[in-house]
Amino acid sequence: MNADDNRGRSRLYAKYGLSGPAAVVLLFFFLLVPLLPGEFWTIVSTEILILGLFAMSFNLLYGYMGQISFGHAAFFGLGAYATAMVFTRFKTVGGEISTPDFLLSLLAGPPAAALGALIVGFFCVRLTGIYFAMLSLAFGELLFYIVFSWYSFTKGDDGIQGLLPPLFFQDAVHYYYLTLAIVIAALLVMWRITESPFGYIMRTLRDNQRRAAFLGINVRLHMLMNFVIAGAFAGLAGALWGPFSRSVSPGLLGWQESGIAVFMALIGGAGTFVGPLLGSVIYTLLQAVVTMFTTYWPLTIGTVILLIVLFVPGGVLGLIEQRIKSRRGQAANAGHEAASGTGKR
């Protein structure tokens, strides 16, 4: 990817849109973060990656399929709990876990979340718009309260504690690179999906469901498939979350957590592939910095979101893309220079 970077950003832009250059720049930063002194930024970056993956999985529903889900955190939480439970089962009495067992426990997250998404999605895809949002919210809250109140199975309000990864991955940098590798792999798969014929069917469903149906597309089946895929990726993000924060709690399934994915996608730019990841960079970094100085984090992020909604519709990446397009003017082929210039920033 770096060779590509050197030879021609314009080609990168032409092929992948703004997501190409943005992904290269982000990758560059993500690879170098552990060089910064102290563990703090590495830990923050791990969080950025995990929540970024979560936000991007949400965007498979919103940005590509055009449906807003307010219950997406349920799958993040299901993945986290599945991993946490397998993790706890594998743990020795002394609280240690071997590396293969640990990696195996991570694998438990996505299928569990996908299964949950299959059941929830079966009902949700029958609706669209505000009703889709409400039904996903209701399912999310139902799952939240089940996890919250089923003490014998989930430990209820206490959550599951003591998810200490093997010694090697207790090192923040090692866990970070593990996360980075998994997230990159996940994003490559996600990219393949969104650029496949299936991905274009999603865009069709977003733009005009009726036309898609006339074209012979099984609308509900495709929506359900996408719902399950998005759920599985959210579950993967959840799986990474437990051992990262050493615990899981019911709050991971709540609607406020779903809201974070919505924030990130819209801040970064829901119309682009890497937009939600950029949103996670902005949100999580801001949170890390702001909470150093004040406990009034909600007030700060609320104000930021307010300003973005009022003045940067389409999110940060959306705004940049718009600028590039307007600078290019009507001539479709003339603007490669301008594109590369803006993409660099």
Binding site: Y131, Q256, L266, Y296, V309
Partner: protein
């Protein structure tokens, strides 16, 4: 279940239903007329409760404690919050009418965070409550706080008032017409922006009123708005967007189901509520009393 437990749960359920109704009525009107799902509605309710508390506290210090001071405190807080709602619509919400639904959601979402934190900034983290010092009365095998009757009567009265307003007054009829067709109302020469501002202010006023009325029964504490708003969504969805009767019936269903579920599944009472929401959305997405047309 014996009679005393039944009585207690029935009254607390009905009281809860009245508060949910006052909130959801505004939520439903705002959504019906303006097509905006106001996530900040319960946060404004909370703010109304805090303002009522402060006014009550101030007047008690000034004129000596009396339960009757709650009345002017509630009215004062309602007036303040109605004005705040008007200003909110004028300066913020209005800018997003031509935007997509998610962006409007994001804006009201941001307001949840901002207003919630402003409450923390002004009133701090400790809970605020008003004790009226009313003796519980004995009835149906148990003791009941008579304030439950006040809340239930108030709720029913406001419901009747809202019905009268929507069906018998000119402004109310315009509001109902706007739910069906904004463009038609606009074409008849009625200024839509004024209707929007009025409806939003009315909704916020109702929410603040509910916050004040509820104060002697439950303390106001930070973060309750997050629980209440999803319950209001539940009410609006069950009843059907834009239907006042539906909202009332749904509020009673949610309030009573919640308070009886709490007896045998304390942590999961709301799970029952969301189960109902799911069943309604699957069976009749437009709600029990809504019309299919608006879906």
């Amino acid at each position: 279940m014996d009679l005393s437990a039944f009585t207690i749960q029935l009254f607390s359920g009905l009281s809860r239903a009245m508060v949910l109704f006052l909130l959801s009525a505004g939520l439903s009107l705002i959504f019906g007329v303006m097509n905006i799902l106001n996530f900040a509605h319960a946060t404004l309710w909370l703010a109304g409760g805090y303002v009522t508390y402060s006014m009550f506290d101030f007047m008690s210090g000034r004129f000596g404690a009396s339960p009757w001071l709650l009345l002017p405190a509630i009215l004062g807080a309602t007036a303040v919050m109605t004005a705040a709602g008007f200003a909110l619509e004028r300066f913020l919400i209005r800018r997003t009418y031509d935007r997509e639904l998610p962006e409007q959601l994001l804006l009201t979402f941001a307001l949840v965070l901002i207003i919630g934190d402003l409450i923390k900034l002004v009133w701090g983290v400790e809970n605020r409550r008003i004790s009226l010092g009313i003796e519980p009365i004995e009835m149906l095998d148990t003791f009941v706080n008579p304030y439950h009757f006040v809340i239930i009567a108030t709720g029913v009265a406001v419901a009747a008032g809202l019905w009268f307003f929507l069906h018998r007054t000119r402004f109310g009829k315009i509001v109902r017409a706007a739910v069906y067709s904004r463009s038609m109302v606009s074409a008849l020469g009625i200024p839509i922006p004024a209707i929007y501002a009025g409806v939003f202010a009315l909704g916020v006023g109702l929410a603040a009123f509910a916050g004040g009325v509820f104060l002697p029964l439950l303390p106001m504490s930070l973060g309750v708005d997050h629980d209440i708003i999803v319950q209001c969504f539940a009410v609006v969805v069950i009843g059907g967007f834009g239907s006042m009767l539906g909202t009332f019936v749904a509020a009673v269903i949610v309030g009573v189901v919640y308070s009886f579920s709490i007896l045998f599944w304390p942590d999961g009472a709301l799970a029952m509520v969301f189960l109902i929401v799911i069943l309604v959305l699957i069976w009749r997405p437009w709600g029990l009393f809504g019309t299919e047309l608006r879906s």
